[in-house]
């Protein structure tokens, strides 16, 4: 049990951190937003593993259902037509 | 008889009243303030005479504090008070007499000449007289200092009377500054005397001279400073006070102000030189003679300074062209004699010479004033000549004064100068060690000066009155009125006769007790410890001054020899002058002196180096300080301000406006704090 748990934790930890890094590092802000969704969802998995299913549910609802949509919306509103792929130069 | 003594303050208060009246109401008075002045000084004279007579007849004095202006708690108090003893009584008479005559003379010299600013003039005279009289009867050294300074102020005001010209204000400034420089030492001395003895009283058993005497005898404890022994410290004190004396009495090297002071009106010169300012210095030494008599070093220095000044000033008088300049140097020279007398233990001689000098110098100055009126304020003797017949009163009285000055028997100056030299001689011969040698050296210089005195005096007389008139004005001089002649006459008679009050040689020869002045001065009440025999006692105590008299030719022989030598030298001087200058058209013989003439004409470059000290040393030094102050001291202040602003401009740069940088700095700050506190708190 503990082993599976550990494997699961390790896996999702990698997913969380990896996608978080992706949020920070990818150039396209769209991709960032999507990776943020991945990261937040994997955090929800951690919550479940910590016997906080309600919090996990809220995490999914609030973040993925609310925050991410808001961010997506904002990206749409602020994206300039000319450069659809690259919206920034350098890091 | 306390009654008359209660009026002593009035002697000074009367001229003060005349000062106030002249200052505030002088414009509206008929003689512009002269009349209150004459009345006041005459009143002072009357009171002074009454006081002197009282002292003479009763042999009592008066020594009392009248007003305490600082009451010390647990420490000494400061008072104003009156000390009347023969010395001050005599001086009061002299001062008020001269002042009265000067006031009268001023009517002729100032009023008749139509000067402007007369109320100011008479106010100055009144204040001058007031200050000097108060100084004379001061019973403590602080009060003496106060009026001593005021005398300086008055001289400033009066010398600079003609302020619209360039010369007088400069001369006034110089007079005040040089005497102030001396007064600085005096004030240090005064303060030190208070600190040492806790009192500044002149007379009585609680006076500082007496306490010093007791201290030297080991019967009294005083504070001394700088780790000096008592004798040495008292010498220092005496020398400090002497600084003021030398400044006021124009002793070398502080004499430079006096010739310049001739820029003032001539009656003022008379007052300054004869009775007030210059006399104040010598009077002060006489006043506290009990203190000086304790210190052989101080006495030696006094004598040496006096003798040297007497000779030094006399040589410069030889070449002067202005009438008043000659008189100015003669004044310096004569006060040198007085100092010589004081330094060599001749207290009576000094006072005697002070008295006679007051009379004949006032006379000479007033006479010069008369000549100046006649000459329309041209003072160059080479433009005069032949005035003898045009103004006989002036001539004869002036001659009387000149004879007195030259020391020709039986005029006043002879008796006093002779006594001065005699005292110096016998004490120089009788005293052991360095002091004796110093006294002899001083005597030698004084003796030599006698010749020069005779010479320049009669050079002046011959150039002015004899020969042919050398200018148009001299041919037709302005007549003078009674108000000029009157004072001259009074003084002329006095100059011839006042010497009889103390004919020591005659006494020695004949044995008659005619040394009245000596007796008078010796009448001071015992309790005051200011009488002559007390001084003599002190002088002759070896623990103190240790001055002794010696008469190698016997008393009579010595006195006769001394008188003969000095008279001979004086006559030689007179004859030399006659030889050179008693001609219808005298010529300048000074060229024969060669380079010496240049030096003499420039007064040995004394002015030059003093001016150099002031103008080329002090002022540039102040300028350097000013630069330092503006540059460094103020620079630091301004620098702090600009450093702050520069720092501010740098700090501002931190706020780049880019929010990413803010986040970075914020993170950096947080990390730094975490790191620092991790170390401090020992978290790891």
């Amino acid at each position: 049990m503990a082993l599976y748990e550990s494997i699961a934790f390790a896996l999702f930890a990698v997913v969380t951190l990896g996608s978080a890094l992706g949020v920070v590092l990818v150039r396209d802000v769209w991709h960032s937003a999507l990776l943020l969704g991945v990261s937040l969802l994997s955090v929800a998995v951690h919550f479940v593993m910590q016997q906080a299913p309600f919090v996990a549910a809220m995490q999914v609802l609030v973040y993925v259902g609310g925050v991410l949509i808001l961010i997506t919306f904002a990206i749409m509103l602020t994206r300039r037509d000319s450069d659809t792929t690259v919206d920034e130069v350098g890091a | 008889m306390a009654g008359i003594y209660d009026l002593v303050p009035a002697i000074a208060a009367l001229p003060l009243a005349s000062f106030v009246i002249a200052l505030f109401a002088g414009k509206d008075l008929p003689k512009k303030g002269a009349l209150p002045g004459i009345l006041a000084t005459a009143g002072s004279l009357a009171l002074s005479l009454a006081v002197a007579v009282t002292v003479f007849t009763t042999g009592e004095g008066f020594n009392q504090n009248l007003y305490t202006f600082v009451a010390g708690q647990d420490t000494f108090s400061l008072h104003l008070g009156v000390l009347i003893d023969p010395l001050s009584a005599l001086m009061l008479v002299i001062v008020s007499l001269i002042a009265t005559l000067v006031h009268v003379f001023s009517l002729g010299y100032m009023n008749d000449e139509g000067e402007t600013g007369l109320p100011r003039y008479y106010a100055g005279l009144g204040l001058f007289t007031f200050s000097m009289l108060s100084f004379v009867f001061a019973n403590n050294i602080l009060m003496a200092f106060m009026f001593f300074e005021l005398v300086g102020l008055c001289s400033y005001l009066l010398i600079g009377f003609w302020f619209r010209e360039a010369g007088p204000p400069s001369a006034a400034k110089k007079a005040f500054l040089v005497t102030r420089f001396g007064d600085y030492f005096f004030l240090v001395g005064v303060v030190a005397i208070f600190a040492t003895f806790g009192t500044g009283a002149f007379a009585g058993s609680e006076s500082f001279p007496h306490l010093a005497e007791l201290a030297l005898e080991g019967e009294y404890d005083v504070n001394t400073f700088f780790g000096l022994g008592e004798q040495a410290w008292f010498t220092v004190l005496g020398l400090l006070v002497l600084g003021g004396v030398m400044g006021k009495s124009a002793q070398f090297p502080f004499h430079t102000w006096l010739p310049d002071a001739m820029e003032g009106p001539t009656p003022v010169s008379a007052l300054i030189h004869a009775a007030t300012m210059v006399a104040a210095g010598v009077f002060l030494v006489a006043r506290m003679y009990g203190f000086y008599a304790l210190s052989p070093t101080a006495l030696a220095i006094i004598a040496l300074v006096g003798g040297f000044t007497a000779l030094f000033a006399a040589t410069m008088g030889v070449v002067k062209q202005e009438l008043k300049q000659v008189l100015a140097y003669s004044t310096i020279s004569q006060y040198g004699y007085m100092m010589l007398a004081l330094g060599s233990g001749g207290y009576v001689a000094a006072v005697f010479h002070l008295t006679t000098h007051a009379v004949f110098k006032a006379l000479l100055f007033l006479g010069a004033g008369s000549v100046i009126i006649a000459m329309h304020h041209n003072e160059n003797m080479w433009d005069m000549g032949g005035l003898k017949d045009k103004m006989p009163v002036t001539y004869w009285t002036f001659l009387s004064g000149s004879l007195a000055l030259a020391g020709i028997v039986p005029f006043a100056g002879f008796w006093s100068k002779d006594e001065v030299l005699y005292e110096a001689l016998i004490h120089g011969l009788g005293t052991e060690g360095g002091l004796g040698i110093v006294l002899l050296a001083a005597y030698a210089m004084g003796l030599l000066a006698v010749f020069f005195t005779g010479f320049y005096t009669f050079r002046m007389v011959y150039l002015t009155f004899h020969g042919e008139p050398r200018s148009d004005i001299a041919r037709d001089p302005e007549p003078v009125r009674w108000n000029v002649k009157g004072p001259l006459a009074v003084l002329g008679v006095l100059a011839a006769t006042v010497g009889f009050i103390n004919m020591v040689p005659v006494k020695k020869v004949t044995g008659l007790e005619i040394d009245y002045l000596h007796q008078f001065l010796d009448m001071a009440p015992e309790a005051y410890l200011t009488n002559v025999h007390h001084y003599t006692e002190l002088l002759e105590t070896d623990a103190f001054a240790g001055i002794h008299a010696a008469t190698p030719l016997g008393e009579v022989g010595t006195v006769a020899a001394s008188a003969a030598v000095s008279l001979g030298l004086a006559l030689a001087g007179v004859l030399a002058a006659r030889q050179l200058y008693n001609a219808p058209q005298p010529v300048e013989h000074t060229d024969r002196l060669g380079r010496v003439k240049t030096i003499l004409m420039h007064n040995y470059y004394q002015d030059e180096y003093q001016v150099w000290l002031a103008r080329d040393v002090t002022v540039p030094f102040a300028g350097v300080l000013d630069t330092f102050d503006q540059g460094i001291v103020d620079g630091v202040v301004n620098g702090a301000s600009s450093v702050s602003r520069t720092a501010g401009r740098q700090v501002r740069k931190l706020q780049t406006g880019v929010v990413t940088n803010y986040a970075a700095l914020l993170t950096l700050g947080l990390v730094l704090l975490l790191a620092a506190f991790a170390v401090v708190g020992g978290w790891v």
């Binding site: 503990a2 930890a13 951190l17 802000v29 951690h46 910590q50 809220m58 609030v62 961010i71 919306f73 | -």
Partner: protein, 100 residues
């Protein structure tokens, strides 16, 4: 049960990654997302410690945290939109009219 330390490390990592995003990127939206990551890191902690301490207050706080994060995003997006309208893009380094 996974030891709390691991969660602490996870959250620390997440926090640092968020911080990294803030420091590296100039896009305001990425900035916002990075902040969300940091808040999530705190939430992981809270939930983990809640389990460890056996009380629910940590979870409750985590819920509050989420709500506030959402509100913050809402306000933030509003500001980003006016930023876009005024400055033409959403580069956080472009508005520097005020500095020093």
């Amino acid at each position: 049960m996974i030891a709390t330390e691991w969660y602490l490390m996870l959250s620390a990592g997440l926090f640092c990654i968020g911080l990294l995003g803030i420091l590296m990127r100039r896009n305001a939206l990425i900035f916002l997302m990075s902040v969300e990551l940091m808040l999530n890191a705190a939430n992981i902690n809270l939930v983990a410690f809640s389990l460890q301490h056996g009380n629910l207050s940590g979870q409750v706080f985590a819920l509050f945290g989420m709500a506030l994060a959402a509100a913050e995003v809402a306000v933030g997006l509003g500001i980003i939109l006016v930023l876009y309208r005024n400055f033409g893009d959403i580069d956080v380094t472009s508005p520097t009219t005020m500095r020093w």
